[in-house]
Every structure is written in structure tokens, then in C-alpha cells.
Amino acid sequence: MRGLPPVAITALVFVAGFALCTAQFPNFASTRVVANLLTDNAFLGIVATGMTFVIISGGIDLSVGSVIGFTTVFVALAIERLGVPPLIAFAAILLLCAAFGAAMGAIIHVFDMPPFIVTLAGMFLARGASFLMSTESTPISAPLYSTVSDFALRLPGGGRLTAIALIMLAVVAAGAVLLHFTRFGANVYALGGSRTTTALMGIPVGSMTVRIYMLSSVLAGLAGIVFSFYTAAGYSLSAVGVELDSIAAVVIGGTLLTGGQGSVVGTLLGVLIQGLIQTYINFDGTLSSWWTKIVTGILLFAFIALQQAMLGIARRSGPRKAGVLKS
């Protein structure tokens, strides 16, 4: 299967890391730790799922962190200042995000602009707009918020699988189905292989591009809502740099940064590896939390080097298969 060997390596890294932590801290291997891992990284898992689609299609979306920040502020102000029911505020922000992503996708396609630049502009735009709305942290006290944060599936061993963790797992599962088992997903891989060829094969490249960035922005919006549940507040400076964390998760998850190969499951593992490092640091108690970034950086290097090496081996592996031909 495509993308499997790098994913296998990511899985191995995760399992090895987990075993290492368990060896050092005997109470590490508990449902509590695993459930917290999922909860703490729920928003990252959601946004990284969208990023996976974008990167496999050969693009990049730098705007997602700002979109998360914008979403938290929008939701907080709508609920607290304007008294909008939370669910309506959610619907409104998701629609807004869809429009925002669609616009970026359309610009990328119509003007044939590099996604890097277009989404960089989107990043400044969304961040600036959230500052415009409010520069302060706005706590959210709507009843729905306490209901959601109280909800959890109790696991044997004391773990609490929270609502936001469940949302994230659902998004990952849905993303995996969409990417691996639908025509839309196949077209995403096709775009990452070659845009012109995909167009020649009769795939509507323009509408695909629009839909991919729309998906990414909507998932960023959803991640923003989840983030507001997580922090019970809206703040214009939240999720700064999350676009880079999610790109890191996608690449560590075995997705080719140049597009055409990758998987959603790998991305989830990439997210969990980052979370694992953070958890280790929390357990240790003496390490600076910036070690997360350092280890993530090292892992990124390792995975990119690995991808290059595998590409190199593939290129050098001599004559290609001629296929079995009988005549």
C-alpha cells in the first residue's frame, strides 16, 4: 500500500518512545496518559488531518494557526458579547472558514499562485482580523461549554476519553476514509503527482483545489472550536505557530512534503509523537518544555532525510519491472 513503509516507521518510533517512557516512569502506561494525550492534542490532530490533504495534493496551508486563533475569538465574542447560541456561532464560523478556504483555493488555481504565498497572506489576514475583534482573552461561560468539558467516556484504569478527543478521533477516521476510499481522495493523490497530468486525465483541477483548501480551513475552524472548549476562552494570540506543528506532524507521519504520498493515520501518529514528548517532559518535571520543539526538530530532520534516502534508493534500484508479457 502507498505510504505504508514510512507510516510503519512512524508507528515504530511512537511505540519505542512509549516503551522508553514506560521504562522510566512505571505509571506512564495507563489509559489516563493515553486519554490525556488524545485530549491535549485534539485540536492539533484535527488541523493536521486537513493539512495532510493539502500537502498530499502538493500544496501547503500556512493559514491554519491564524484561523484557529480567529475562530476562538469569533466564537467567544459571539457567545459572550452578542449572546448568540453556541451552536449557531459554530455553524457561522465554519461557514466563514469554508468561504475563506475556498477563496484561497480559488486564488491559487485561477492566478496560478504558489500556495505558500497565498496562504501566508491568509495567515496574516486571519491573525490581523482576530486582533481587530479583540486583543484580550475572553472567557467563555456558556452552559454548553461546561457540559462538553464534563462529558467523558470512562476507560478502565481511570482514563477519561473526553468529547474533544472523540471529535478528533472521529475527524481522523472520517479523513482516512475520505482520503483512502473515495474518488476525492484519489484525486488528491493525483494532484500531488502532477497537476497538468491530472487535468489531462479529465479531473476538474480547479474545483479540487478549492475543495481541498476549503476542507483544510473548515477543519482549522473545527480545531478552533475544539481549542475554545479546551481553554474555555477565545484569545487572538492562541495557536500561534500551530501551522508549523501540524506540518511537522504530517511529515513525521510519512507524508511526502512534495506531495503524492502520505496517509491520515501517519499524521495522527505524528501528532501523538509530539504529544508524547510533551508528556515525557511533564512527567520529568525538570526539563524545559522547549525540549518538545528540539526533539520535534530532530525527528523532522530524520524523517526528511529518510524520505530522501528512500527516494534515492527507489531511483537507483536498477531496471524497472517490465511486467509479465506473454506473446
Binding site: R2, T182, N187, Y189, M201, R320, G323
Partner: protein, 528 residues
């Protein structure tokens, strides 16, 4: 230019093709198609008829209008005038997609498929079988395997297409097109990057398609392949229809005449004056020259006024030998003597200093500098040899450039034109001129006629002969044995990175070369 009997296309009438009794009905009819780009009239009132179940070769020199015709028919370019009928109904596709929907599929030389997707996904992208929105992977693979099995291709369709050879990729592209109910299949130079066996496989597929009643248009510049596979030939020249013939009734010399529009003495296959020439003194001599893991040590002496051909399969060490001779690779054994004096070739600079020149195979990437003018490209090597301290004056440059443009008949004769705008054959002549300007004693030509149309091909061969008549020593690499036989006085045969045989005089012929290549365990090379 003398007019030929079949040169007529006056008033856009068809070329007497209604009266014959072919079983295949007219599938694709192009009538009076015209297309201009600015002032260039790329196609003028061209007619073309493809019958169901035939393989129809579309031939012509570079710039004859083959590509333009295909692109005008398949909607890549809009056409200025003329009509296209498919099964009697007029069609006017505006995009390649629309042409495909109408039943006209094109497979280009660079396979337009996605190497990162599985073979099955490539076959069914955009039309995968689904249930509740989900792709039915197992069913798709089953269909894909069955579809390819029709072409005698039995591969694991779940593997990425990029894992397979170019031939498999071509067949996959054809299978996709045919499965999308294409009735007209256009193959644009499909065999250019295939080896002999792969060409056979592709031809088997083409024959099978023709049997099914699909019309196949085969664009190529390999005339041997035209005679091997095609039923009918249409020749274009300078944007006009020259004629349509059945392949069986068209002798090769006649075909070449149609393509060139001028009398061409038997271009190839004839070792005319080669024996008459008297080889001069040895000007460069390589003894036990070689490099471990690159080319086994060889002995090679090159005489003035002599053409030595290097023959062998791709990867046999031909280009590697050339690079050693030119100092582009350093030898780790053996010695070189030039005019009797021992020398060392550590870099191309040394080689140039001893009067060597080298026209590499990759003209576009290693040879020409596309943004510079013809004049600048010609004086490049000479200036480098003189050193930057002694610049050539503009007047000297102009004189040199014009001199070679006239001598080699470079067209158009404009020294200030960017070389990138010239045809392949003329670019090759500019490269030759670049080295000739340095007055070399030895010139190495790697595939001098690759990617060049028939006319320029013959001219390059003629030039090679003339050059060595003037006392130059030439070392020429070519994959085309006929061509090597035509101009070589001696042929060195390579196999598995070693020089295995040397043929001289009467012994130089295609059969002997093939025999030498096929000797001792190397599989299946046969003559013809």
C-alpha cells in the same frame, strides 16, 4: 522544386481515396484543415482519412505539421478552417477532454499518467466504481487486471505505476484511452524511449486494437517501424498534404522523397566511398586505457581522415569511452599519445588543448546554450581555447560564424538568432561548427543524429564524411547500425563496458556488428 504527381491537393479535393475497395470504412475524416500561427501557415488545406481497423503512419520532417494536425484535431489548438468528421458526424472538440469524450484519444511520448498512483487508479481515475461514495477497490483492481490482460499484460495493478517500465506505462495509457471507448487512438512518438523488446510488445497491442476496429494514428520518425507495423502512410511537408499511400506499395526511397521533397541519393545502407579513402597517420593512440568500474582497458588508435564508429547497446560503454577519450572522466590505467608524444588527459581542458572536441549526446542540456545566439554558440569553444585574455573581435566572430553557417548550411542563416529557436538538426550543426572553429584533430560525436529529421540526418552524415576527407579524425557513437555502417571505416563493438571487437573494411556491416554484440551468452540480439 519539382512537383510530384502526388503533390497535388489543389482546391482541397481529396486525394482519390473514395474509389478504392478497402473493407475499413472512413472513421476519422479531416477535410481542408488550415491553421496559422501569426504569419506561419502551419497547416494548409490538409486532408486526412483514417479508416477503421488500420494503423496509419503520419510522417513528415520536423515542422511538417504532424503535431499541429494532431493538436488541431484533438482540440488543443482551435483550427482556422476545415472540418473533422468522426463516423460521418462532425466533431469540434475544444479541449483534450472533449476529444476523448468524443472518442479520440492521444497518448504522448511523455506518458501522461500519474506515477505515484497504482496502475488500477491510473486506469480508472475519475471513474472508479463506487458504492455509497466509496471506491470499490477490489472490484477496480479486478477490472484493471482484466483490462490489461486483454493486452497480454499481467502485472500487479495495486503497485504504483512508477514501479513499471515505460512500455508498461504506455500500454496502461493506451488501455485507459481504449477503455474510455476511444475509437481513434493517436500515438505520438510512442517508441522513442522503448527498447526493441518493448517496441514489439507495443506493436502487438497496436495490432490487437486495429483488429478490434480501432483506428490507430502512429506518429514516428523510425521508418523501419513504419514499414513493420503500418498499413497506410500519410506524408506531410511544410504544412501541406503530400500524399497518402498504402505502405506495401510505397518503396522506402519513394517515401523519403515524399518527406524531403528532393532527390536524395540512397542515404543509408550504402557504403559508397568509404573504402576509397586512404587513412592517414595515427593522430591519437590509447593503450590499455580504462577506468575500473567504468570501461575496461582498451586499445584504440585514431587516424587522420578516418571515421571510427562505436557500436553497442545502450549502456555498453560507448558514451563512457567517449568521455574517457575527452578527459571528462579520468582514466586509472593506460596511456595516451598524441602525434607520437605521450600526454595526460586529466580534464576536458587538456583534451581541448591537444585538439580534441566533443559533441555530447544530450544536446539540449550539455551542448547548446539556448539563450545565446548562433554566433555566440559557435565561437564559444574557440574563445575558451584562446583564453579570455585574447578576445575575438566582433568582426572576427561575425566572419567565423557566417563562414560556418555557409559551410554547414545552417538555417535560417542568421547568426544573431537564439540557438534555442533552431531545429534539432541545425542546432547539431552549430555544435559541429563550434568545434570545427577550433580546428581540432579529433572530434568525438555522441549520437549526432538523434532527434533529427530525415533530411538533416542525411546532411549530418554527409558532413561527417566530408570532415574526415579533410583530414579530421572522427570517433562517432550511434545507436543506428545502418548509419554507423554508412560512414565508418572501422567499427569498435562494445559490450558490457568493454571493447569486444573491431571490424574493418569489408567486415563492417550490420550483420557482423550484431554478431559481435550477441557473442557469448548475451541474450537474443538478432539481425533484422
Amino acid at each position: 522544386m519539382p512537383a510530384f504527381a502526388f503533390d497535388a491537393n489543389v482546391g482541397g479535393s481529396d486525394v482519390g481515396m473514395n474509389a478504392h475497395s478497402d473493407p475499413g470504412h472512413a472513421l476519422l475524416e479531416v477535410r481542408a484543415l488550415s491553421k496559422s500561427f501569426g504569419t506561419l501557415r502551419a497547416l494548409q488545406q490538409v486532408d486526412f482519412t483514417l479508416r477503421a481497423g488500420e494503423i496509419h503512419a503520419l510522417l513528415g520532417e520536423n515542422g511538417a505539421g504532424k503535431s499541429t494536425l494532431i493538436k488541431a484535431v484533438t482540440g488543443v489548438f482551435p483550427r482556422d478552417a476545415g472540418i473533422v468528421r468522426l463516423d460521418g458526424a462532425e466533431v469540434a472538440p475544444r479541449t483534450a477532454k472533449a476529444a476523448l469524450d468524443a472518442g479520440i484519444a492521444t497518448v504522448y511520448q511523455e506518458v501522461n499518467l500519474l506515477l505515484n498512483l497504482s496502475v488500477a487508479q491510473n486506469l480508472y481515475l475519475g471513474r472508479q466504481p463506487t458504492r455509497f461514495g466509496l471506491v470499490r477497490e477490489a472490484e477496480m483492481r479486478r477490472h484493471a487486471a482484466a483490462l490489461l490482460a486483454e493486452f497480454d499484460l499481467h502485472i500487479d495493478v495495486a503497485e504504483p505505476l512508477g514501479n513499471y517500465s515505460v512500455a508498461v506505462q504506455h500500454i496502461t495509457a493506451i488501455a485507459r484511452a481504449v477503455d474510455q471507448s476511444a475509437r481513434v487512438l493517436i500515438l505520438d512518438e510512442p517508441t522513442a524511449s522503448l527498447d526493441r523488446h518493448e517496441v514489439e510488445v507495443l506493436f502487438a497491442v497496436m495490432r490487437k486494437l486495429a483488429q478490434r476496429g480501432i483506428g490507430v494514428i502512429f506518429v514516428t520518425h523510425f521508418l523501419d517501424q513504419v514499414y513493420e507495423i503500418s498499413d497506410r502512410i500519410t506524408v506531410l511537408r511544410n504544412g501541406r498534404l503530400i500524399g497518402e499511400r498504402t505502405t506495401a506499395e510505397l518503396p522506402r526511397i519513394e517515401l523519403i522523397r515524399m518527406m524531403l521533397g528532393r532527390e536524395l541519393a540512397e542515404t543509408t545502407r550504402e557504403r559508397a566511398a568509404a573504402q576509397d579513402r586512404k587513412a592517414g597517420d595515427v593522430c591519437a593512440r590509447f593503450d590499455g586505457y580504462g577506468k575500473a568500474g567504468y570501461v575496461a582497458p582498451f586499445n584504440l588508435s585514431l587516424r587522420r581522415g578516418e571515421v571510427v564508429g562505436l557500436a553497442g547497446l545502450l549502456g555498453s560503454g560507448r558514451t563512457e569511452t567517449a568521455r574517457l577519450v575527452f578527459g571528462a572522466e579520468r582514466a586509472d590505467s593506460g596511456s595516451v599519445t598524441v602525434e607520437g608524444k605521450p600526454v595526460r588527459l586529466l580534464s576536458p581542458r587538456d583534451a581541448v588543448a591537444h585538439g580534441f572536441g566533443y559533441c555530447p549526446e544530450e544536446r539540449k542540456t550539455e551542448g547548446i546554450i539556448a539563450d545565446l545566439t548562433v554566433r555566440e554558440n559557435i565561437v564559444l569553444a574557440l574563445q575558451a581555447k584562446r583564453g579570455l585574455a585574447k578576445p575575438l573581435s566582433r568582426a572576427e566572430q561575425d566572419e567565423i560564424a557566417m563562414g560556418f553557417i555557409r559551410l554547414l548550411d545552417i538555417r535560417p542563416p542568421e547568426p544573431e538568432r537564439s540557438i534555442g529557436l533552431l531545429s534539432g538538426g541545425n542546432q547539431q550543426k552549430v555544435l559541429l561548427a563550434r568545434w570545427l572553429a577550433t580546428a581540432p584533430r579529433l572530434l568525438v560525436l555522441d549520437e549526432p543524429t538523434r532527434g533529427i529529421d530525415v533530411g538533416a540526418h542525411a546532411e549530418i552524415i554527409r558532413l561527417i564524411r566530408e570532415l574526415c576527407d579533410d583530414g579530421l579524425a572522427l570517433l562517432v557513437i550511434s545507436s543506428e547500425l545502418d548509419e554507423i555502417v554508412t560512414y565508418s571505416d572501422r567499427v569498435v563493438v562494445l559490450r558490457d563496458r568493454a571493447h569486444v571487437d573491431e571490424l574493418e573494411g569489408e567486415a563492417v556491416d550490420v550483420t557482423n556488428i550484431l554478431a559481435a554484440i550477441a557473442v557469448a551468452g548475451t541474450a537474443g540480439a538478432e539481425a533484422g
